[in-house]
């Protein structure tokens, strides 16, 4: 089980790229990336999570997304870009799709 997490800024977007498997052992790395985004010098307008290479998301991954939502607060939308079918299903089945914006491509 491994996860790749990359944090960068593109304009006012805080961008996290996820790849691999987001399970209980990987969730802390994702969570610290979320904190890094919001603790950075930039004021973040949107949190964008690029998910095209994320193959799997366990319960801990969902919890981390909820954590991101809480960290971002009401004013900062969260955009999930190109989640794979299985990951998207998990997000929809647990109702989290109401809390985020889901897009096919990053614009």
């Amino acid at each position: 089980m491994s996860i790749d997490v990359k944090v960068e800024y593109r304009g006012t977007d805080g961008v996290i790229t996820l790849g691999g498997q987001l399970d209980a052992s990987a969730a802390p790395a994702f969570k610290s990336a979320i904190e890094d985004v919001f603790n950075g010098p930039e004021k973040v307008g949107r949190l964008v999570i690029l998910m095209q290479d994320l193959e799997y998301m366990a319960s801990a991954g969902l919890r981390a997304l909820v954590f991101a939502k809480q960290k971002a607060g009401a004013g900062v939308p969260i955009v999930l870009v190109a989640p794979q079918e299985g990951v998207l299903e998990t997000i929809e089945m647990t109702g989290f799709h109401h809390s985020v914006i889901i897009e096919e491509t990053y614009a």
């Binding site: 802390p28 919890r63 809480q70 998990t90 089945m93 109702g95 109401h98």
Partner: protein, 796 residues
């Protein structure tokens, strides 16, 4: 909740804190001294020879010899708070978030006795469990799915307050944690004690239980801890959701089984048989006119309880399909969630409830507090039995289980501790899951004292009725039990409880099949049973004709006898007083006349129910003629007997449309949905009583025992106590096998009768509002066994 951020130093402003930490921590020594001893000593005082073979001196802790001598101090240095673990950045650096003891490398401190259960607290998990008679308790911790425990931590003696063991354990990963308890204490069944420290017990307050994560997946029978307690997190994004608080009189309830609703291949949903499957079908329910779903038990249960394995094929059948056998009252059934295998059933269920509320549909849970899955003395020890048998179960003076539930044991629900558990449970579901109401299985048991006798003033029922958190939820009792206590109309309601009205069911069925002598009874049932609920009003009456127990509506007009052979009990199980009539052939037939009559009878039944005062409840699939092939007790079948065949939507679309029309008609007309009983008087000066009865002659119904006809009229000026204006409604019921002409009552100036529904006509209903003006305003011809609904309004 670990993170990569180094912990902050303790608040230097408060020297007491910085001082205290190491000092307290050095007390770790004491833990090692007391912990193992605490459980070793009483173990020798076991009472009575044991029935089963248990190791004479069970060794709950996995480590070598326990001496009272303190271990080498080196093993317990001052607790160092390494930066790698907890994040204290958002926590007061207060003393109560730091460990005081250490055990096998696990840092612990005395926990908070309340709340019971396992609670996520800053830096750790608080475990708290009650037992009045246990002599020692050990916390058993597993990594998710592992066959053997990771560690077993005895509760140090000083961590027990009163009858509560509580401990805070630091640095656990809540995502992978599975936990349980071993309880030591007397094995003395005659005194009601069945402690067995060889068993690992599920926390009765567990909010998630793993072990049956995927429905029907064959369990590992050798698992030493098959149903495992887990944590859940209260971080669901509810947005602005809350309970709908729909007035009771406006409800149309739909009783359904989570799996049965969409499991059939014809359902077309992506994840059949799950919570998310229901979510996909909400538009169907909305269109049907349902505004509350009542889910058959969704608390975690074991579908393999009492299952049979065919030795030839290895196939497992006779599952515990309905689930009236609770393992844990706080945990949703993982096997009902498509995401159960990933432990996300909590979110999936919450997402369903949120979606229901968005659609204006309430969610009512069918809850089973009368018994558990532990059976009688032959049953397994899973939780309550091993935690504190004498507290949790009603026992005979000899220590056997009272069986008022018909399933082996009876929960001792009027014991103050058990009562609080029930209350905690319901409050949890209301506050954390936004549940709108509860239906209590065999609720008469909830009114029994600890010795089984019925109480005049049962404290549990009173507590529930007046609880501040449950205050706006619906409370519905199944007002009888298997011990012969039948309280329909006399259930201790405190002005608050509604009841499944079994008399409504029986009366409608008898009248429907053309039995003599039911007309007077029918008049009562139509009005919301004022003979039973005079002080409570019609909303105390849940009007139903069918429910999961018994025939489906289609089967009640297709079978004279129950056909339960598939249950494997020689047709001896299930009720015999079905009041059903097969319309002339037992079971399926290709006789068009019989099939037409059956369709008509189903419509008749639903039309009568949906025009009665009270709260109507439709059984899943009755709107499309679902059949169980004459089986009236399908508790154990995970197959077509219980799965709703969505092909019937097309096959019986005429029936479905009729039900949609009549439900919409009910929603449109407040005169059908009064909060208080009708009086039979004119108190608004309209010239008509709020309800009047008629027959072949207006104003003069035939109450004689041979009569099988009855009509009633509701005066629209009296709708909701005269507070709103509605049309006049006239419902004629001819359950005779011959046609009858009904003389229509005159309407006030400017109003005319229009036909909304007539089950004896070619077209049986129209859209509400599109009623057809009646040319003959004096006489209405009713075909045999038919119901008509007329509206008195100004012609267009």
């Amino acid at each position: 909740m670990s993170s990569e951020i180094p912990g902050l130093e303790p608040d230097a402003v408060n020297p007491a804190v910085t001082e205290a930490v190491p000092k307290k921590a050095s007390k770790g020594k004491k833990a090692a001294e007391t912990a193992p001893v605490a459980e070793a000593a009483p173990a020798k005082k076991k009472a009575a020879p044991r029935k089963k073979k248990v190791d004479a001196a069970p060794e709950p802790t996995p480590e070598p010899a326990q001496e009272a001598a303190p271990a080498a101090p080196a093993a317990r240095e001052r607790v160092q708070l390494e930066p790698a673990v907890p994040d204290y950045s958002n926590v007061d650096s207060r003393i109560d978030f730091y460990p005081t003891h250490e055990y096998l490398g696990y840092r612990i401190r005395a926990g908070k006795p309340l709340p019971f259960g396992a609670t996520l607290v800053p830096n750790g998990v608080n475990f708290s469990v009650y037992s009045a008679h246990a002599t020692a308790c050990t916390l058993v911790i597993f990594d998710k799915g592992d066959p053997t425990p990771k560690v077993e931590i005895p509760f140090p003696h000083e961590f027990k307050i009163g009858n509560v063991f509580s401990m805070l354990v630091f640095d656990l990963d809540p995502e992978t944690l599975e936990y349980g308890y071993r309880m030591d204490g007397p094995w003395d069944p005659a005194q009601g004690h069945r402690f067995d420290p060889s068993k690992i017990l599920c926390d009765p307050y567990a909010r998630v239980i793993s072990g049956r994560d995927v429905w029907g997946q064959k369990p590992d029978w050798d698992n030493i801890y098959p149903h495992r307690s887990r944590l859940s997190f209260d971080d669901f994004d509810w947005e602005d959701d809350k309970q709908l608080e729909t007035p009771s009189e406006d409800l149309i309830v739909y009783e359904m089984h989570v799996r049965g609703f969409t499991r059939h291949g014809s359902s077309g949903v992506k994840f059949p048989g799950t919570f998310v499957g229901i979510r996909e079908k909400l538009p169907y329910l909305k269109k049907l006119g349902v505004n509350a779903i009542e889910l058959m038990p969704i608390f975690e249960f074991d579908e393999f309880e009492h299952s049979h394995t065919d030795p030839e094929t290895g196939e497992i059948d006779h599952l515990n399909y309905w689930g009236y056998s609770t393992l844990g009252f706080f945990a949703p059934k993982a096997g009902y969630a498509a995401t159960g295998k990933r432990g996300m059933q909590v979110d999936e269920l919450k997402a369903l409830i949120k979606a229901c509320h968005k659609m204006g549909i309430e969610v009512i849970l069918d809850v089973v507090f009368n018994h558990t899955a532990e059976g009688n003395e032959q049953g397994p020890t899973l939780s309550l039995k091993g935690l504190d048998n004498q507290t949790y179960y009603m026992l005979t003076p000899e220590g056997y289980y009272f069986n008022f539930s018909g399933t082996g044991n009876t929960i001792n629900c009027n014991h103050p501790v058990v009562r609080n558990m029930v209350l905690d449970c319901l409050r949890y579901w209301v506050s954390e899951y936004h549940i709108d109401g509860f239906r209590f299985d065999l609720a008469a048991i909830l009114g029994r004292a600890q010795d089984g006798s019925p109480l005049a003033n049962p404290p549990l029922l009173e507590s529930l009725a007046h609880d501040p958190i449950l205050a706006r939820t619906k409370l519905i009792a199944e007002a009888w039990d298997a011990g012969g206590l039948y309280q329909v109309g006399s259930f201790p309601a405190y002005g608050r409880w509604g009841e499944w009205n079994g008399k409504f069911r029986d009366t409608i069925r008898k009248f429907l099949k053309g039995e003599a002598g039911e007309v007077g009874e029918m008049a009562m049932r139509i009005q919301g049973s004022p003979d039973l609920y005079s002080s409570r009003g019609p909303t105390a009456s849940i009007n139903f004709i069918t429910a999961h127990d018994g025939f489906t509506l289609y089967d009640s007009v297709s079978y004279n006898e129950k056909h339960n052979l598939a249950n494997g009990e020689n047709n001896n199980d299930g009720a015999n007083d079905n009041n059903s009539w097969n319309c002339g052939a037992e079971g399926e037939t290709d006789d068009p006349w019989i099939n037409a009559l059956r369709q008509r009878q189903v419509k008749n039944a639903l039309a009568m129910m949906l025009t009665s005062q009270g709260i109507p409840m439709i059984l899943m699939g009755d709107e499309i003629g679902r059949t169980q092939h004459g089986n009236n007790n399908t508790y154990c079948h995970d197959n077509d007997l219980n799965w709703m065949d969505w092909g019937l939507v097309e096959k019986n679309k005429d029936l479905l449309q009729f039900v949609q029309h009549v439900a919409a008609f009910r929603h449109r007309h407040p005169v059908l949905r009064n909060r208080w009983h009708l009086s039979g008087r004119d108190y608004v000066g309209s010239g008509y009583p709020d309800i009047s009865f008629h027959g072949e002659r207006a104003w003069s119904p035939d109450w004689s025992s041979e009569s099988r006809t009855l009509a009633f009229m509701l005066c629209g000026k009296h709708a909701r106590g005269g507070t709103v204006q509605d049309d006049y409604i006239y419902v004629a019921m001819n359950m005779h096998w011959e046609d009858h002409a009904f003389e229509l009552p005159y309407l006030a100036q400017g109003l005319q009768w229009h036909v909304f529904a007539n089950t004896g006509a070619e077209v049986t209903s129209v859209e509400p509002g599109d009623e057809i003006w009646l040319k003959d305003q004096r006489t209405f011809w009713m075909g045999s066994r038919s119901v008509a609904i007329l509206v008195g309004k100004a012609p267009r």
